[in-house]
Amino acid sequence: MYQPLKNSASRWLFQWRGPERGTIVLVQRRVFILPTRQGLLFAGVILLMLTGSVNYDLSLGFILAFLLGAAGIQTMLHTFRNLAHLRITAGRVQPVFVGEPAQFQLNIQNTTRADRYSIGVTGNKVTADYIDVPADSTVVAQVPVPALQRGWLRPGRMTLFTRFPVGLFRAWSYAEPDVSCLVYPAPANPGLPLPALIAGEGEGGLAGQGQDEFSGLRSYRPGDSPRHIAWKAVARDDTLLTKQFAGRADAELWLSWDTLPLQMTIEQRLSHLTRWVLEADACGMTYGLRLPSATLPLAGGPSHRAECLRALALHGTATDHA
């Protein structure tokens, strides 16, 4: 009962307005400011100085206390100004697999003539990326958001904050850019072996495994099967390399929903299909994907891989973002 009330109060006070398209300008109305604990401590020290000055009749004590107090109040303006009038646009975000953090990027642009220092950008209110934004420049801030579920991931409301220059005040502002990260299902581990190749034009059952002709090494990509990691190479020079195997070019590999065991849940099936797509792609095979909702024709290459993974990520979700 209390929480919804608090939420609606915050919505009104902090003008939470949901995702915003385009450039978000931190106009003065959107920047909030409150003293920090250290600010209160500073006020306490000033009060102590004033009390001492009254007691010992120290005119210069009054002057120093008033000067520092006034400077403290001025820092409020400096802190506020350090954040106000920044322009924020969301940058591109690379798709990730479930379990990895999505690296959202905020382009923070400072069109004013004042340099901005020590601005923190946080999505989770636990860790932050700190950046300096000099006058007339743009700096990219990273906001990692853990991807827990396949589909579209929104970063949610991000907080930009600063305590600069003295730390007596903390100014903050909320920004929720209209951006999403595509989250692929996590590749199953361990996975089932790739389904049998179907020779071209319906000559089923004759295909080789597509995994037996070693054709070279390439650098490791997330989703690669540990069985294909060249462990000797790892021992040699500490970089993860994946062994690549040449499939037969004329073979057709169909990664099909239906070939998976019936007792698997939807998510498990998607996981295995994801792994197959990665393995097939790693081997440079031509493969197609059959899902209950869609079928992606035989093809190869990065864009096909992306299409397949996207179809897997969005399987069964109501909305399909452009």
Binding site: Q38, L41, F42, V45, I46, L48, M49, G52, S53, V54, N55, Y56, D57, L58, S59, L60, G61, F62, I63, L64, A65, F66, L67, L68, G69, A70, A71, I73, Q74, T75, L77, H78, R81, A84, H85, T111, T112, R113, A114, Y117, S118, G120, T122, K125, V126, T127, A128, D129, Y130, I131, D132, D136, Q142, P144, F161, R163, F164, P165, V166, G167
Partner: protein, 656 residues
């Protein structure tokens, strides 16, 4: 950039920050270190250098138990040294040591910030010992440095160098000035103290005391410290009339003159036309006397006047005090003093100074009239071989006898003492008055500066029908003392403070200029107390300022001051370069539109320029230049601030 916690309070401080904190602490406590006992200064230096070494080697601070042990030992040492942990001196010593140990312990940003704040408090404690202009400027510098260090700790990215925080701190202080001024003038002042002051809080103040024995004035005369300053409305009286009355000494024990412990309040002060009006600003001397020209006609606020015309403050003068005064230079008083009072002014100790007593008896037989007797004694002083000197020979048990008949070398206290003894022995009520005589006129701001070196002692005798009149035997011996000051009255071999003599004219002049700056400083900065605040508000037109009125006034002016700062702070948020360019071009378009050729919403600048040039061929070059500049600035690269200004200028010149 890696992710870091959203509060950086726990991050370790780096070497640069430790150096900054150590420098701020050392400078803020430098003046204290000179006053602390040697072992404490050594301990603090060791602790600070230890910290610097740790920062240099990037080592962690020593464990808490070791620091606790050192703190405990230092506190014990202070307790032994000062015999207390309270009080001004011991308290400051303790504060400095504890802050030094805190500096050693400082590990994280949180510690560093706390230490910076405590440094500000340390600055204020310096004012317990000195509030001069130099101290103020020095402490301002220290405050600035501490702010620089505090700002320096807030950078999270690449370190931009100390210049950046240094400029920011200076800007903050400049912006704080208006609000500081408003708060200083309007913040409701309360008269302290709020609690009992430690015993030693006013140690080291000098001034006249309530007794006088041979040689006691000497230490005062060798001091060029300021006793008080007086500002006259109208002409300053002649130097020989400037007798600033202080403690009146009645009782003599053969060696020392003392002021009576109990005094009676005056029934009335001299009335009539005031001869001189002036304002006295007396320096704290931790005694109750207030000084005024003989004879005062009014009491300062919170002060009483006694029957023997002393002005006594109700509490010892422990802060600079300022009061208006009027005096009648020729007034006499006390013609109706009772037998009791006059008897007290005739007492002499038994068995002292037999020769002086005998001499007084002879004079009494020779002169029946009191005034003739007085003149005879003064003539003796004038014509016999008496010498006025600051370094008289030491006197034995019968001090007055030896002075009058053997040594004949003395100083105002010898003359006043001997004269008063002679008067009493001859049956004329007499007493010693101490105070100051003369003073130095400051030509820079037209006030009189009275130093401790102007301390003087003279005699008052009671004449039937007239009352008490002043007789200054020193004036008989050395008229120059009262007419031209102490420096001209003394032989050059006598030691005097450097500036009391009129040598080094340029230096003297500089010294007087500096003193007049100090006087203004004292008047307006140090002397701004609840009373002056009331006066100031009355001048503003708030004669009966209540707390509520003062609060409203304070908030209005403080708001204005903050607003001024805000306007200043946000000035550079608006004038972004792109906006200047856009604004200039918009102005150009408006000019053309007023001329009758508005730009179509979809029209690009180049197309619009072509159309405008055809429409007004004579303006074509200007249109061309402006458009070219605009396009370069807006869409090109490598354009500078200078180009934006150029564009603004050409738009301003452009006319249709």
């Amino acid at each position: 950039m890696a992710q870091r916690p959203i509060t950086l309070n726990e991050r370790p401080i780096v070497a640069r920050e430790a150096y900054g904190l150590a420098a701020g602490f050392m400078l803020a406590s430098a003046a204290h270190l000179l006053r602390l006992p040697l072992w404490l200064g050594a301990l603090i230096s060791v602790v600070v250098f230890w910290r610097l070494y740790l920062a240099h080697r990037n080592l962690t601070s020593p464990g808490k138990w070791l620091l606790g042990l050192v703190a405990f030992a230092a506190a014990g040492g202070i307790l032994i040294e000062y015999r207390t942990l309270l009080g001004r001196d011991a308290g400051v010593a303790l504060l400095v040591v504890m802050l030094a140990l805190k500096l050693l312990e400082t590990r994280t940003l949180r510690d560093g910030i706390l230490l910076g704040f405590l440094g500000f408090f340390l600055l204020v404690t310096n004012f317990l010992f000195s509030q001069t202009i130099t101290t103020a400027l020095y402490m301002l510098g220290c405050a600035w440095l501490l702010i620089v260090v505090l700002i320096g700790m807030q950078f999270t990215g690449t370190w931009p160098g100390w210049r950046q925080p240094a400029r920011r701190a200076a800007l903050l202080l400049v912006q704080a000035l208006p609000l500081m001024l408003v708060l200083f003038l309007l913040f409701p002042r309360i008269q302290g103290p709020l609690w009992g002051l430690p015993q030693d809080s006013h140690a080291g103040l000098s001034g006249l005391s309530d007794n006088m024995s041979p040689g006691s004035l000497n230490s005062l005369i060798l001091s060029d410290a300021v006793a008080f300053r007086a500002e006259f409305r109208g002409r300053i009286p002649e130097a020989s009339a400037l007798y600033w009355r202080g403690p009146v000494l009645w009782d003599y024990d053969g060696r020392t003159w003392t002021a009576p412990r109990f005094v009676f309040n005056a029934t009335d002060l001299p009335a009539g036309e005031p001869v001189v009006e002036y304002t006295v600003t007396v320096e704290p001397h931790n005694k109750r006397w207030l000084f005024a020209l003989e004879m005062p006609m009014q009491r300062p606020p919170r002060a009483v006047a006694t029957r023997d015309m002393q002005l006594l403050s109700t509490t010892p003068v422990r802060s600079r005090m300022r009061y208006n005064m009027t005096s009648q230079l020729q007034a006499t008083y006390g013609a109706d003093d009772s037998e009791n009072v006059l008897n007290r002014a005739l007492q002499l100790p038994q068995g002292f100074n037999p020769r002086a007593l005998k001499h007084a008896q002879q004079l009494r037989q020779k002169y029946r009239d009191n005034r003739q007797l007085i003149d005879a004694v003064l003539n003796d002083f004038r014509n016999e071989n008496f010498v006025y000197t600051l370094s008289p020979p030491l006197l034995g048990e019968h001090a007055v006898d030896e002075f009058l008949f053997d040594t004949r070398r003395g100083f105002c206290e010898h003359y006043a003492s001997a004269f008063t003894v002679l008067m009493r022995a001859a049956g004329i009520p007499a007493r010693v008055v101490t105070g100051y005589q003369g003073g130095q006129v400051n030509p820079v701001s037209d006030y009189i500066l009275i130093r401790q070196a102007d301390a003087h002692a003279w005699t008052e005798v009671w004449i039937a029908g007239t009352g008490w009149i002043r007789v200054d035997p020193t004036a008989a011996v050395s008229p120059a003392r009262v007419e031209r000051g102490i420096a001209s009255a003394l032989p050059r071999s006598d030691e005097l403070p450097m500036f009391v003599r009129g040598d080094f004219e340029l230096l003297q002049r500089m010294r007087l200029t500096w003193d007049s700056v100090t006087y203004t400083w004292n008047q307006w900065v140090l002397g701004y107390n609840p009373e002056r605040q009331r006066q100031f508000l009355a001048n503003l037109g708030f004669s009966d300022a209540t707390w509520q009125k003062l609060a409203v006034l304070l908030f209005v002016f403080a708001g204005l001051a903050v607003l001024t700062g805000a306007l200043f702070a946000f000035r550079d948020l608006r004038g972004a370069r792109n906006d200047i360019v856009r604004a200039a071009y918009d102005r150009f378009c408006r000019k053309l539109a007023r001329g009758g050729l508005p730009r179509h919403p979809s029209e690009g600048p180049l197309v619009y320029a072509r159309r405008a040039s055809q429409w007004k061929p004579e303006a074509a070059p200007a249109i061309e230049t402006i458009t070219q500049r605009y396009v370069t600035l807006r869409y090109g690269t490598g354009a500078s601030e200078q180009d934006a200004r150029e564009l603004e200028r050409s738009v301003s010149r452009f006319a249709v």
